[in-house]
């Protein structure tokens, strides 16, 4: 396989908790606590997990929008984890992000044409009539009309605004697009339109996606490989088919079983997890899932399970599966 577009190794992001007059650090929020993954050219990696599991922080750290605490981020083989602001610039063109809320991520006082053209201006790539042509081209690519360039964000619906955000992300011809819940705020009929657009653009431009979502059905549809996060760690990392049909980690299993299926004829026995996700300030010792895990053993309370490769490319961090072979639960 060629070099992956994005390669993340043991990435950590801890937020210090400061207290008292001297602002002494009294603890850490372990938002992202040592995650490793890669995204190949033209591939989509889905990153799933519940609120507070660190998936958005991971995305922001990869984009260098927050400073990673430690670890390595390689974009097309080049280390970018600790580059300064100036040195980062050329790499910023290579990766772009689309956020969840298309209402909050567009400046209400700029025309949408200016919004989409801004990255081109900032990087000094195009100006004047060439700029207008490029922007018009981007508009058609995302299924908007070039005449709409003169309008303002409030004149568009949620789905159209998300198309504008996508056009802006595409402006610099990036290799990698990070989507942080890009379709979660949209109605289902519109969601399908935007998902199809993302899939088409990927095929056309060989884009790589890091796709963050909490909706497992959407992730299954769009991803090639999937990483499941729980409390700042990746607990399972596998190709889509393996992960969805034979989940190994009890958390993945519970997540899948919790998804309501829109078909009243399918009756499943649901496995319902008790309790809530523990706080990332004070994660439980050992396996952080042991407080909710139906299969927890004494060992899970003390020893942190490491990610182990079960079959080629399929990894799980669970004491139930050791030495590359499944142990009966």
């Amino acid at each position: 396989m060629p070099d992956p577009v994005l390669e993340v190794t043991d990435l950590k992001k801890h937020y210090p908790i400061k207290k008292g007059l001297l602002r002494r650090t009294v603890g850490n929020v372990y938002a992202v606590d040592g995650i490793t993954f890669s995204v190949a050219e033209g591939e989509t990696l889905g990153l799933v997990g519940e609120s507070g599991c660190g998936k958005s922080t991971a995305a922001r750290a990869v984009m260098r929008l927050v400073e990673p605490t430690s670890g390595s981020i390689k974009l097309e083989g080049q280390e970018i984890a600790h580059l300064g602001k100036k040195e980062m610039r050329p790499f910023r063109r290579q990766m772009q992000i689309v956020f969840q809320d298309p209402f909050a991520s567009l400046d209400p006082r700029m025309t949408v044409g200016d919004i989409v053209g801004e990255p081109l201006q900032v990087h000094g790539i195009a100006r004047a009539s060439e700029l207008a042509d490029r922007v018009a081209g981007l508009f058609t690519q995302v299924g908007l009309r070039a005449e709409q360039m003169k309008l303002f964000p409030h004149q568009f619906s949620g789905g159209q605004r998300q198309r504008i955000c996508i056009a802006r992300a595409l402006a610099l011809n990036p290799k990698l697009i990070v989507g942080d819940e890009p379709v979660s705020a949209l109605d289902v009929s519109i969601q399908a339109q935007v998902i199809n657009l993302l899939v088409d653009l990927q095929q056309e431009k060989k884009l790589s996606y890091l796709f963050i979502a909490h909706d497992l059905a959407v992730v299954e549809h769009i991803s090639h490989r999937v990483a499941v996060m729980y409390l700042g760690k990746i607990v399972e990392y596998a190709d889509k088919k393996t992960l969805f049909s034979h989940p190994l980690h009890p958390y993945t299993e519970a997540l899948l079983s919790a998804v309501p299926i829109p078909n009243p004829k399918i009756k499943r026995k649901k496995q319902i997890l008790v309790g809530d996700v523990p706080s990332p300030v004070n994660p439980p010792p050992g396996c952080s899932f042991h407080t909710r895990c139906p299969h927890a053993m004494p060992r899970c309370r003390s020893e942190v399970p490491q990610l182990q490769e079960m079959s080629t490319g399929n990894w799980v961090a669970c004491h139930l599966h050791q030495g590359g072979k499944a142990v009966a639960a």
């Binding site: 519940e50 289902v188 519109i190 399908a192 199809n196 899939v199 088919k241 519970a254 299926i261 997890l273």
Partner: protein
């Protein structure tokens, strides 16, 4: 989920409900001529996308429409023989939270941040049931236990910010059910929650409904939740009811192209349902029309592949298409075949 025991007795009868908003842009017909009935102990789901009028329906039943600019322009909401729309405000307050109550989407914004959780459950009881204080306290703890909150005595003394999202929604349910209402309206009760918590809350609602025999109106956009909880379904589009049927019939053979489009555009876990994974999701082209400027004829016609001159000229009648299956479409017969194809 199997059907909860229903006695077949109608408890709520909504007829010809029209809720309009009078704005500078014109009259917004948020709910247009909506009728339905609800039987004791049954779950009725109202499905649709943003702006289809499903939340406005809920607020109309509770008489919580902000007036002005809104107004319930016509219709009746008969709860056990009494038309709620004819009650004066004082009598309506006796009904609200007592005989008919509601759970909202956002548990954080619906709870009062400066009152303890126990106090807020007790408030409902104090208002409606004139019990001695000791009994109110006991009932509060009992409600917290019923909705599955551990250590209810301690939790009753805590404030909303000390609870997680799932716990807050449990408290909302405890408040709504404290007076044992006949009808519970749940407006997107699990939308703000994570899937594993959503599964907990849905299970809780089904269990409580069986135990207490409350009739439930479940308002949601999530077809998965509908399939797992409801017995009957109403699909709304642009303020109107476009289809109504049993949950099996809606998913099996939808009679309205909008319902069909909704079902087909939702990605579902194909590894569990066993269906072939499509490369492209089916889209419904275009978007929902503005309620202040609805097209003449069928509101869905501009997005519908079956639309013809008849559709754009005349709104289709809400007709019987099968046993307990109704839809407003001129061309239901063209929709035949398997929906999950």
């Amino acid at each position: 989920m199997s059907a909860a025991p229903t006695t077949g007795e109608t408890i709520l009868d909504v007829a010809g409900l029209k809720t309009y908003f009078y704005t500078r842009a014109g009259i917004v017909r948020a709910v247009e001529d909506l009728s339905f009935t609800l039987k004791r102990g049954e779950t009725l789901a109202i499905v649709g996308e943003s702006g289809c009028g499903k939340s406005m329906t809920a607020l109309s039943l509770m008489r919580l429409i902000p007036e002005p600019p809104g107004r319930i322009a016509a219709g009746s909401v008969v709860l056990e023989g009494r038309d709620l729309l004819k009650l004066d405000e004082e009598s309506m307050r006796q009904v609200r939270g007592n005989e008919i109550s509601m759970i909202f989407q956002e548990p954080m914004t619906s709870l009062n941040p400066v009152l303890t959780v126990g106090n807020q459950i007790g408030e409902t009881l104090r208002l409606h049931q004139r019990l001695p204080e000791a009994q109110i306290k006991a009932r509060t703890i009992e409600m917290l236990r019923l909705v599955g909150i551990p250590e209810p005595e301690q939790r009753a003394r805590e404030y909303p910010h000390q609870l997680s999202g799932g716990m807050r929604q449990r408290v909302m349910i405890a408040i709504a059910l404290a007076c044992n209402p006949k009808v519970l309206i749940a407006d997107e009760p699990t939308t703000a929650l994570d899937v594993t918590i959503q599964a907990q809350i849905i299970n809780l609602m089904i269990d409580l409904q069986r135990e207490l025999g409350t009739a439930l109106i479940l308002i949601t956009h999530d077809l998965g939740v509908v399939a797992e909880t409801a017995q009957r379904v109403i699909v709304m589009y642009a303020g109107r009811k476009v289809e109504q049927a049993s949950v099996e019939a809606i998913f099996d053979r939808p009679m309205h192209p909008y319902t069909r489009g909704l079902l087909d555009s939702v990605p579902h876990l194909t590894s569990i349902s066993g269906d072939e994974a499509p490369e492209h999701l089916n889209e419904i082209p275009g978007m929902v029309p503005a309620l202040s400027n609805l097209p003449q004829g069928c509101a869905f016609a501009p997005r519908c592949k079956f639309a013809d001159d008849q559709c754009t000229a005349q709104y289709p009648p809400f007709e019987r298409k099968g046993d307990g299956h109704w839809a407003a479409c001129w061309h239901s017969d063209r929709l035949g075949g398997d929906s999950n194809a």
